[in-house]
Amino acid sequence: MASYIARRLVAVLGVLWAMTLLIFGIVHLLPGNVAYMILGEYATADAIATLEARLGLNDPIYVQYWRWFTGLLGGDFGQSLVMDRPAGPLIAEALGRSAILAGISIVLVAIIGIALGIHSAVHKGTLSDRLLTLLQYFFIAVPEFFWCILLILFFAAWLGWLPATGYTPLAEGGLVGWGVHLILPVFTLVSGLIAHVSRLTRSSMLETLDSGYVLAARARGVPERLVLRRHALPNALLPTVTVLAVDVGILIGGIVVVETVFAYPGLGRLLIFAIENHDVPLLMAGMMVVTTVYAVANLVADILYAFLNPRIRYGRAAA
């Protein structure tokens, strides 16, 4: 197991290193001058030359990459050009707020999605299964920005129960003030994903319930509840675990939209801000952070997968 985790870790580090090349390459190797890109088309030659010198753009490309890369390793994410502050703390602050949103969302997606999936599989063909199926397809089909607008109109503008936008820190607003700002964004983020995860769990649970070992367990006289819990569930969850990691990626994409619509000051909005203001160092740092989050989510999923699946935990050594 330790060897397996170490191997996955090596793979994750490899992916992250490849991403540094990609992100750096996209920004620096594409046609056009970075300084020109930042300053816009009305920049004077002087301003461009000054910025080039400040960014070290006159050095050879590999020196620039090495400077950025070693900076990253040392925790230096560069300097935000627009805000004139180190990018690291800026991102850390935004990341913390996004992590609250994403963390609550992924936990809800996992718990509710898996529970609904199991319920549908066990009660296959019943009214509740069919009703859930209908709802799930509805939530999968409707895009999240539609929910954003509808929810704001209904709960914020019409009923006035919940704030439409913004964020209140826990220290200022207390649990309620902090929480009410999260309800609408979280609902928007999880609706489609819960439907997605529960559909998947349902089908893999059905497949497992149809398997030889579940039949064998029933033939051994194992009571149905134990058949579900001990024999079916651990095997049925394997595909779900993998998909949850992929869903973290979808969630990050969703967060960019949701944070923008609900004016929630997280990483997604910071990225949009960096793009709009041509803040290249901030953008690069933000992209690295997003990549790392996604890679770590997959690492966690791999480890969880191995924990559930002894075929990975132990090699094929004959007993």
Binding site: G212, Y213, L215, V222, P234
Partner: protein, 682 residues
């Protein structure tokens, strides 16, 4: 019978709800098993065998309606109490041990589970008992096995573990649903020995469900023959298989290729397929396929004693059962002089290895220091030399994983070889052969379900190679498709059908027609009849035989079934761990002198009507995956006739008892010639 039987089913019927209306899977099935008795339940796929097992367990599910006049188990009402009986007094072993064990739980915990649930044992006591059960079923190092996960064990070990679990609560009755079908023949023999021993030592009653008449004959006292949901014949096993009464049973035995008889001429296929069970026939439901059908067969048939008075234990559901009926043997095609043509295909020293694991998989850490393991390889085919003459059938036998399929693909250059040469009609075949070689050498795959494109019609499937190899175009190609269909005995009406509209036997014929479309001289048949029922298999084997006579096609016929190989092959090659250990004319290979592996393989074959053969059986320990040393004889680690270290380290010399018969073994020829014949062939 003085005692009441342990299990008695009286008029058991099972109906499944389907989209086309109720499907009568079982109709009035009655059987009784005395305490300590063993009943065999035989029949082809779709006969309802497994439904009987699930009905006894009460596990048929919600879609099934089960009725019976009476179903009793040792005085209990089976239907009311099935949930309390299963796992406690009735144990089950299903077909595929890989599917029956939960991959996420240790083997020991699955064996111990019923003990904790039904006997109220503590986890520790149950775990200890599980270890002793595992060693009782003959697993070495039972403690390690108990801690292992299913994927770490071989198929034979898994099936032993499943049997241990079924025995945990000391049941009175063991239900065995095709318990050895997924296993290799030498492992099958070990499991049958185990079951036979358990029956004696524990006084177990058995219900053995199988399509294999040889297995049933070995293990059972009584037989029930099931056809399309009805019992057609019942009686003592030996008498029933010796002189079958019902036409279906006679047909089954006539269709069976016998390893102990070899090539006795033609097999007798049973035409047609299973009747539509959504509209059960009130009369005899076999009459559409029966050679002896007459108008009286349309009347309902009863299961009655074959001969009145004398022998009441023999029952058959046929009003003609008492008559001496002999199935007509189909006509033979004009038989040409066989197997003496020029050498068509010659492989020399063909080898192929497969790498195991990727770069990251080889990386390991010891004390935090990364190390890269050397690339692990498995030698699937190891220096094989063989030749096939024009119009000859070379049978290739061996157990799973011995490299048969890889070799079949190597001689077609479907996969590249690492070393060795291949000649076809005298010419060297390059690694990437051209259309000329592809046209002349074709393949028939094992599973027609996956080798036929489900989105294409039969005509499209067959037409493709016809036009691809420039055999014909346009209307001519259509005529060619009809000709090929006729060649495999299918009417042109099949042209527009899709694979899912065909039966297994019909699908395999389409596979053969497609392979013949380019008018090849050489066909590789990779387990081409293994997925088929005996009655259909006979028809396909006869067809392949005729095609050889009419077209002079040579075959490399790959099979794990010694009976089939003995029936079709002119010459036989025996493979073990990538090497050919024996090769020669069929008669010579099937009789002593043998390679010790051939001997073990042949003596493991369950034969019909030779229960007394047990004395001469050779049993192998372990299975193919047991560790072997490099260098010497590939079979040395399991060989019952191993001489000593020489077998492990020195490549065995090739003995040639007769011209063309080669055995690679260190033992002197006299010793090999002195062994008793395993199949009754001297």
């Amino acid at each position: 019978m003085a005692d009441a039987p342990l299990l008695s089913l009286d008029a058991l019927s099972v109906t499944y709800a389907t989209g086309r209306g109720p499907l009568a899977a079982l109709q009035d099935v009655s059987l009784a098993i005395p305490k300590g008795g063993a009943m065999g339940l035989v029949g082809e796929s779709g006969s309802g065998k497994s439904s009987v097992v699930l009905a006894i367990l009460g596990l048929l599910g919600e879609g099934a309606r089960v009725t019976a006049a009476a179903a009793r188990f040792d005085g209990h009402d089976l239907f009311a109490e099935a949930p309390a009986l299963r796992g406690r007094r009735i144990g089950v072993v299903f077909q595929d041990p890989s599917a029956a064990l939960n991959p996420a739980l240790t083997v020991g915990s699955q064996v111990a589970e019923p003990l904790v649930l039904h006997r109220g044992m503590s986890q520790e006591d149950a775990a200890a008992r599980a270890v002793s059960l595992l060693s009782e079923v003959g697993l070495p190092r039972a403690e390690a096995v108990a801690r292992a996960y299913p994927h770490q064990l071989s198929g034979g070990m898994k099936q032993r573990a499943v049997i241990a679990g079924a025995l945990a609560c000391e049941p009175d009755l063991l239900l065995l649903d095709e318990p050895t079908t997924a296993l290799d023949v030498t492992v099958e023999a070990q499991i049958l020995d185990l079951l036979e021993g358990l029956r004696k030592s524990r006084g177990l009653s058995l219900l053995l469900v199988s399509h294999n008449l040889g297995i049933v004959d070995r293990l059972c006292d009584d037989l029930t023959v099931l056809y399309a949901g009805r019992v057609v014949e019942q009686g003592p096993a030996e008498a029933l298989l010796g002189v079958p009464s019902h036409p279906y049973t006679r047909g089954l035995l006539g269709a069976l290729p016998r390893a102990d008889r070899g090539r006795i001429g033609r097999l007798v296929p049973i035409p047609g397929g299973l009747p539509d069970l959504t509209q059960p026939d009130p009369g005899c439901n076999f009459r559409a396929r029966c050679a002896f059908a007459e108008p009286a067969c349309a009347a309902p048939q009863v299961l009655a004693p074959v001969r009145s008075g004398a022998d009441a234990s023999r029952l058959a559901r046929c009003h003609k059962a008492g008559e001496n009926l002999i199935w007509p043997v189909p006509d033979e095609a004009v038989r040409r002089h066989r197997g003496e043509g020029d050498i068509l295909l010659a492989a020399e020293g063909l080898s192929r290895s497969f790498a195991l694991g990727g770069l990251l998989g080889r990386l390991s850490f010891r004390n935090g220091i990364p190390r890269l393991a050397p690339q692990a390889e498995v030698r699937a085919v190891d220096g094989v030399t063989l030749s096939v003459r024009a119009g000859e059938v070379l049978g290739l036998v061996g157990e799973s994983g011995c490299g048969k399929t890889t070799l079949g693909r190597l001689v077609l250059r479907l996969i590249a070889s690492d070393s060795g040469t291949l000649r076809f009609a005298g010419e060297l075949v390059p690694d990437k052969p051209g259309a000329a070689f592809r046209r002349r050498a074709q393949i028939v795959f094992q599973n027609p379900d996956s080798s036929l494109n489900p989105r294409k019609t039969v005509a499209e499937i067959i037409r493709r190679p016809v036009t691809l190899f420039g055999i014909a175009r346009g209307a001519e190609a259509d005529a060619e498709v009809d000709r090929l269909l006729e060649l495999v005995r299918l009417s042109p009406a099949y042209r527009g059908r899709y694979p899912h509209q065909l039966s297994g036997g019909e699908k395999q014929r389409i596979g053969i027609a497609r392979a013949l479309a380019s008018r090849p001289d050489f066909l590789v048949c990779d387990e081409a009849v293994s997925a088929l029922d005996v009655s259909v298999q006979a028809a396909v084997l006869n067809l392949l035989d005729d095609l050889r006579d009419r077209l002079g096609v040579a075959y490399l016929f790959i099979s794990h079934d010694i009976g089939v190989i003995a029936h079709v092959a002119d010459r036989i090659a025996v493979m073990y761990r990538g090497k050919v250990v024996e090769e020669g004319p069929a008669r010579a290979v099937l009789a002593p002198p043998y390679h010790p592996y051939t001997e073990a393989l042949l003596s493991a074959v369950p034969l019909v009507g030779s229960s007394g053969r047990a004395a001469a059986r050779i049993r192998l320990a372990g299975d193919v995956s047991s560790a072997a040393g490099a260098g010497g004889c590939p079979f040395a680690h399991r060989c019952p006739r191993r001489i000593g270290p020489v077998c492990d380290t020195v490549v065995p010399p090739v003995l040639e008892p007769k011209k063309g018969h080669r055995i690679a073994c260190h033992l002197p020829l006299e010793t090999l010639a002195a062994v008793p014949p395993a199949l009754g062939w001297a």
